[in-house]
């Protein structure tokens, strides 16, 4: 009898979290209610709770960004808006809120080179998973058209043109996909105003200033220091607690 109880207890301890955890949708709805009643701290906490359970969605990041915005944490708000861009980059509400949040930061307008602007636009054309499915669709279309051209005995030149156009479309799509992945993998948002230093040590010479909400590109992580680059190409070192990356994962060391 006692053996059965012990086994049941172990089973409970292992699976209790999974079995009895609240559904993310329910927590999301509860967080929305808190938000509507102006309790942004509580709403943000509930949205974060869903993230901690290992789930994420574009609307979740968007609402979390709104909660931080209302609390006056512009850096965190921009961070979560940019994370939401990974899920629905063409959403009008998201674009409006993101632009508004960016406009009230103290940092510079993110201008950069023509290529950098083009790369950002290209990276935000489609959502993370849309790039994968569109690539598959293009490959399927290319295969279908190729087989059709063989089956209907199209002229050789026409076949070549069709295949080349298909391949180019795939290559361009792949290029934008890479831009998208690179953008989200390397980008981080500054959470506190800080000086970016020439060297990764306390007391080093300041190179330039970054403000809360400024985007930076993380080039390297070394202990508790990150080498970051601003859009204008300036590079320097800043402690990792001053910024947060859009995607948490392996660092480019």
């Amino acid at each position: 009898m006692s053996k059965t109880i012990v086994i049941s207890l172990i089973f409970y301890l292992i699976f209790a979290g999974k079995v009895f955890a609240e559904e993310p949708s329910a927590v999301f709805a509860k967080a929305n209610t808190e938000y509507q009643q102006g309790r942004y701290e509580e709403a943000g906490g509930l949205y974060e709770q869903i993230l901690e359970s290992g789930q994420e969605s574009g609307a979740l990041y968007y609402n979390l960004g709104n909660s931080y915005f209302k609390k006056g944490q512009i850096g965190k708000a921009i961070l979560n808006y940019e994370r939401a861009l990974d899920f629905f980059p063409r959403d009008a509400d998201l674009q409006a809120n993101y632009a508004f949040a960016r406009s009230i930061t103290r940092g510079l307008d993110e201008r950069g080179t023509v290529f950098a602007r083009f790369a950002k636009r290209g990276a935000l054309l489609l959502a993370r998973n849309e790039y994968a499915w569109v690539a598959l669709f293009l490959l399927g279309v290319l295969a279908g058209v190729h087989l059709m051209s063989l089956s209907f005995n199209w002229r050789r030149n026409l076949q070549t043109v069709v295949i080349m156009v298909g391949l180019l479309a795939l290559i361009f799509h792949g290029f934008f996909w890479v831009l998208h992945e690179r953008f989200f993998a390397r980008r981080a948002i500054v959470l506190k105003d800080s000086s970016v230093l020439f060297e990764p040590r306390e007391g080093a010479t300041a190179h330039f200033q970054v403000y809360e909400g400024d985007p930076v590109e993380v080039l390297k992580i070394q202990d508790s220091w990150g080498k970051v680059a601003r859009f204008d190409g300036k590079e320097g070192w800043i402690t990792t607690d001053h910024f947060e990356r859009l995607r948490r994962g392996k660092t480019n060391q």
């Binding site: 949708s25 994420e56 969605s57 968007y62 508004f100 103290r106 994968a132 690539a135 490959l139 994962g249």
Partner: protein, 604 residues
């Protein structure tokens, strides 16, 4: 020594110049004297060279040069003489006077030296010009190619800009791949060199090709410092002494072709250094130095523009400060607007283009009480007046309106024209974020990527497999259509199975004639496709030769031969064939086809 005379007050500028190609000449050789009159198309009579004891002259001929550059017409007339020394010694070509178009012009005297053969200095890197120039005295290399470093001033202030010129002089040598000069000047900052200029210059009666490099320099600290030397690296093209190797290809090894294609030259690297200059750098005076002086030295002009000047609270004003001058633009700190209680200020965008530095900065008025964009000033030290000078810009008067309030709606035709909302509180227009999303959308596991999913991989594999299968099927179909032999080999087993089935049916009904007709047709169809033979071409007489080289067993060939004989016999005397014989024939054919299929499959 420029041997030039210009007629004063002349309506048309005429000058007269005498130069020699070198100043030292070997006894028995000659040098070339050129008398050039610019501004004329010709002379009525040749210029008479005075008799010089021990020096014989011979007029080679006149040359006329006419050029029109940017619509400007210019001309020159030259007389070229060869001068032959008759003895060793120093000779002086005196100043020559010429009257042209009522203007009198005069050249400078030139001194030349004639030396014996043993005295002629030999130089490496000199060229052997050949032809008329054979016997040219080889002068020191340093007299034929050298570098001159010049600074516009030798007494400057710290951070004051001064011109630096490096000239490469070349006389009668083929110099290639000239690099930009390197100047040793640790206590100075040097700008990049500009595009080099090329021209001719006569020095002490010798004409040189000059390559001139210009740049600016700034002193970094006070004191007396060496400036230079300037080092110039280039390559000397020296004619190779290859000799002429006759053999095949001799035509193309001819000197003409070698010279034309530049194959007969050896390029030798050469580094030439100039002399070192001594510069004195003065410190900036402390007296009168303003507190916000940032170290700019030179003459500067600051220009400022701000727009718009009529705006609302929160609207941005773009200010553009343009600093132009002849100082060090890298260190000149253009003034910026700092954030205060009236303005929010963004970090400026600063660009430098040549002698102009531009700063664009956005500032935003925080309230409607702001009346002007404040003035800014730039302090610099002017080395000409030795004083600190201020360049002010602004202020710019502003008209900042407060934020608008909501206007009351009006009703057209209404007597009151305007609705009375006296009990309603007016809303102040503002800006805020859009509301939250009601639905969470699809939740994904954190870090989920569709392309890593099994479903994505399966679909990708299906597409690739379908594409590959479709392509292979297409190739197969094309071959079946275009390769008759291949198609026949594929069809042969099908015809065999169908024929055997027909024969079996006739066997069951004991129809001898029908059976042997079916057997015959099967043999013909099968072998037509399998062996690519014309229909009806297989007979008992030639079947043995048809199977040569395939490796079919002898007994099988024999049974087929017998089978075909039976087929022919059955047409005319079917009564002699009983069921057993028909059964044996059937089995013989089946066995033969089986074996041939196996053999052919291996073979094909």
């Amino acid at each position: 020594m420029m041997c030039t005379g210009i007629s004063p007050g002349a309506a048309k500028e005429i000058s007269f110049q005498a130069d020699v190609d070198r100043t030292i000449v070997e006894l028995g050789s000659y040098l070339r004297l050129t008398l050039t009159v610019t501004g004329v198309d010709g002379l009525d009579q040749p210029i008479e060279l005075p008799q010089i004891d021990g020096l014989e002259s011979r007029l080679l001929g006149p040359q006329t040069r006419v050029s029109i550059i940017n619509g400007q017409y210019s001309s020159s007339y030259s007389l070229v003489y060869f001068l032959y020394p008759l003895r060793v010694g120093t000779f002086k070509i005196p100043s020559l006077t010429l009257t042209v178009e009522n203007q009198t012009v005069q050249s400078e005297p030139i001194t030349i030296e004639a030396v014996g053969t043993s005295q002629a200095p030999v130089a490496s890197g000199s060229t052997s010009e050949g032809g008329a120039q054979q016997g040219m005295v080889q002068q020191n290399l340093s007299e034929r190619i050298f570098v001159v470093l010049e600074a516009s001033r030798n007494d400057v202030y710290v951070n004051e800009r001064f011109d630096v010129t490096v000239k490469l002089f070349v006389n009668g040598m083929d110099v290639r791949n000239i690099s930009y000069p390197q100047i040793k000047a640790q206590e100075f900052f040097l700008e990049d060199f500009q595009q080099p200029a090329q021209y001719e210059q006569v020095l002490e009666g010798v004409r040189y090709q000059v390559v001139e490099f210009k740049t600016f320099a700034y002193a970094l600290q006070p004191g007396a410092f060496d400036f230079g030397p300037a080092e110039e690296t280039c390559q000397l093209a020296i004619r190779g002494d290859q000799g002429r190797q006759k053999g095949f290809g001799g035509f193309f090894e001819d000197d003409f072709f070698n010279d034309f294609f530049g194959r007969n030259y050896i390029l030798r690297p050469l580094t030439i250094s100039s002399k070192t200059l001594q510069l004195t750098i003065r410190p900036l005076p402390l007296e009168g130095r303003p507190a916000d002086f940032s170290g700019a030295v030179g003459k500067f002009v600051l220009d400022a523009v701000a727009s718009p000047l009529q705006l609302k609270v929160g609207d941005p004003i773009t200010t553009r400060l343009t600093l132009a001058g002849n100082g060090n633009m890298r260190t000149a700190e253009i003034p910026i607007f700092k954030e205060n209680g009236d303005f929010k200020a963004y970090e400026p965008q600063v660009t430098v283009k040549g002698n102009v530095k531009i700063s664009e900065q956005v500032i935003i008025p925080k309230h409607s009480g702001v009346k002007a964009v404040p003035a800014v000033s730039f302090w610099s030290f002017n080395p000409e007046t030795a004083r600190y000078e201020e360049q002010p810009a602004g202020p710019f008067a502003l008209n900042v309106a407060p934020l608008e309030v909501k206007e009351l709606p009006q009703i057209v035709g209404s007597s009151s024209r305007t609705l009375n909302f006296s009990n309603t509180q007016e809303d102040v227009l503002g800006k805020d974020i859009s509301f939250i999303k009601d639905r969470p959308g699809r939740f994904y596991d954190r870090g989920y990527q569709a392309w890593r999913s099994i479903f994505f991989g399966t679909v990708l594999a299906l597409i690739l497999m379908g594409w590959g299968f479709g392509y292979v099927w297409h190739r197969f179909s094309v071959r079946v259509k275009t390769d008759e032999r291949f198609a026949g080999r594929l069809k042969a087993p099908y015809y065999a199975r169908r024929g055997l089935k027909d024969a079996e049916r006739f066997l069951a009904s004991n129809d001898v004639r029908g059976f042997y007709d079916a057997i015959h047709a099967t043999v013909q169809q099968y072998f037509r496709n399998r062996l690519h033979k014309p229909l009806g071409s297989i007979s008992a007489s030639n079947i043995r030769s048809s199977f040569q080289g395939i490796g079919v067993q002898e007994d099988v060939v024999s049974s087929l031969e017998r089978l075909l004989v039976d087929c022919d016999a059955a047409r005319y005397a079917s009564a002699q064939f009983n069921r057993d014989r028909m059964e044996r024939t059937f089995q013989d054919l089946r066995r033969a086809i089986d074996q041939i299929e196996r053999k052919c499959r291996l073979r094909f």
